[in-house]
């Protein structure tokens, strides 16, 4: 089985980083996986998205067009991708920045005020990780343990003090 995940938001929100954590979770769990960023002149401040595929078999196309799981971190991304989610799929939506409520009944949407939660809990820039916490709780794609290991691997040594914050962000996502 292949799980196709699309993460989308503004550049600087940590979309690619969150994707990297998911990809590393796949690596930890000995899965096949791929991670593909959008790239281009809009590196900062524009829209960024990232395709992650997790599978038991070799990945075909790494480009996710119809995700099983969508993480939407801003309104344009939500508008662009919410209707692309596969029937039966799940969407994780930062409700601080996205006002819309999805009318689709064939997918499950989770509204988490992740930006607000991050700000309230001194986890600036941790909105992406809070959404990941919610994702693993609702999908069971990876265990908390796996995700913690992935974070330890992805956070550069120079920023190691951020690891504890990221752990806190995941648990906050799982409990919201």
């Amino acid at each position: 089985m292949t799980t196709e995940i699309l993460l989308a938001g503004f550049g600087g929100q940590g979309v690619l980083f969150a994707g990297k954590i998911l990809a590393n979770c796949g690596l930890m769990d000995s899965k096949e996986l791929s991670w593909l960023p959008s790239y281009g002149p809009e590196m900062r401040g524009g829209t960024a998205n990232c395709s992650v595929c997790i599978s038991d078999e070799p990945i075909g196309s790494p480009l996710v067009l119809a995700p099983d799981i969508l993480i939407a971190m801003n309104q344009p991304s939500y508008d662009k991708f919410i209707n692309a989610v596969k029937p039966g799929g799940k969407a994780f939506i930062d409700s601080t920045l996205i006002e819309s409520k999805c009318e689709r009944t064939d997918i499950e949407c989770f509204y988490i005020p992740s930006s607000q939660l991050a700000d309230d809990n001194e986890l600036q820039g941790g909105s992406n990780i809070i959404l990941l916490g919610k994702l693993i709780k609702e999908t069971g794609l990876f265990s908390l343990d796996t995700m913690k290991k992935a974070i330890e691997k992805v956070v550069p040594p120079a920023k190691a003090k951020l690891i504890a914050n990221n752990f806190r962000a995941i648990e906050m996502g799982m409990n919201n």
Partner: protein, 352 residues
């Protein structure tokens, strides 16, 4: 073996260093910048040379200089930059100097775009510069294959004293996949018979040169090279044959496109359509024997490319136009989807 998560561009660089590449000369261009950045970080520590050149033209000529002394040398770029390197590549070929050139393709012509493309197939396989020559062209379809093919490219280039190209694309360069680095022992090719590395007073001087003002001498030099090409064509082709034994429709695709096509082939099979995939891993030499094997039971072939159909001619020639060859492609940086390919399979007659 340990699995690492790496971008294709980074994996290309790491593999080159492990394959004994001693120097990298490059010039920035999207979407291959991570390769040079990785080299800048690692090459010096690995005891080699990294240098950002003033242009792609200078970079390929630095490669020419280093490789002329017998050192394993590499440069990388993306489509517009490869056009600038074509002069130097012609000189490398004409001087029988081995080197590795990476092309992480983007859309063209002109400045084109920066999204993935395969529209440099003709350039790579037919005319990467002026004159009678070929270069080895490898087409990886995964980050792991990028590693394996870089090692193979250096070895094969040295073996036949010819330049080799890794023809990748922006999708492969930018994506991350798990990758393992096998224990690499670069083949030690003896270059002492030709390398211009200082004769120490112990031999006649070596000349690295592509100039022959006498037509018969130039002809002889080219004929000798083409004799070697015949050996390369006989011995160095490589392809993946996927579900081809009983296929009615044979899809042909290389590189990133082959991944999309494989997904479509799997879906077609699930729907009862006997589809198969022929994926050339070497584009020059083109795997003629392999495609004929793959096409044995096929009634039709369908080439899928991220270009306007640059591989079709090679396919038709390889099978001697014995079967119809259809085409489906996207270009300009648009990536075909498995669903589109499946629809095309049905359209061109693969329906049950």
């Amino acid at each position: 073996m340990e699995r690492n998560l790496m971008k294709g561009n980074e994996a290309l660089a790491e593999a080159a260093i492990r394959a004994g590449c001693k120097c990298f000369f490059g010039y920035p261009i999207t979407p291959q910048t991570e390769l040079a950045a990785y080299m800048a970080k690692r090459m010096h520590k690995a005891g080699g040379v990294f240098l950002q050149a003033e242009s792609e033209i200078a970079a390929i000529n630095m490669v020419l200089g280093a490789a002329s002394t017998g050192v394993r040398a590499m440069t990388s770029s993306s489509s517009p930059g490869i056009s600038l390197k074509s002069e130097g590549i012609s000189y490398l070929a004409g001087s029988d100097v081995p080197a590795v050139i990476i092309n992480v393709q983007r859309g063209g012509p002109g400045l084109g775009g920066i999204q993935p493309s395969q529209a440099d197939y003709w350039q790579a396989t037919k005319a990467l510069g002026h004159g009678d020559f070929h270069l080895l062209v490898f087409a990886p379809a995964s980050v792991q294959e990028m590693v394996d093919m870089v090692v193979k490219a250096f070895d094969t280039a040295d073996k036949y004293r010819m330049p080799a190209m890794i023809l990748a694309d922006g999708l492969l360069g930018q994506m991350m996949e798990p990758v393992s680095f096998p224990e690499i022992t670069p083949n030690a090719h003896d270059k002492s018979g030709w390398a211009a590395d200082g004769h120490k007073g112990k031999r006649a001087h070596h000349i690295i040169n592509s100039l022959y003002l006498q037509p018969d001498e130039l002809q002889t030099s080219v004929l000798n090279r083409f004799e070697r090409y015949e050996i390369v064509k006989a011995e160095e082709t490589d392809a993946e044959l996927y579900l081809t034994e009983d296929c009615d429709i044979l899809l042909c695709a290389f590189g990133a496109t082959a991944r999309v096509v494989k997904s479509a082939v799997n879906e077609a099979r699930a729907q009862g359509i006997k589809a198969g995939l022929f994926r050339p891993k070497t584009l020059w030499p083109f795997p003629v024997k392999e495609i004929n094997e793959a096409a044995k039971s096929a009634k039709k072939l369908l080439s899928v490319e991220m270009s306007m159909g640059q591989m079709i001619d090679d396919i038709k020639l390889a099978i001697n136009c014995s079967k119809p060859v259809e085409f489906f492609g996207r270009t300009g940086g648009v990536i075909p989807t498995p669903a589109e390919v499946l629809a095309e399979i049905k359209k061109v007659g693969g329906a049950k």
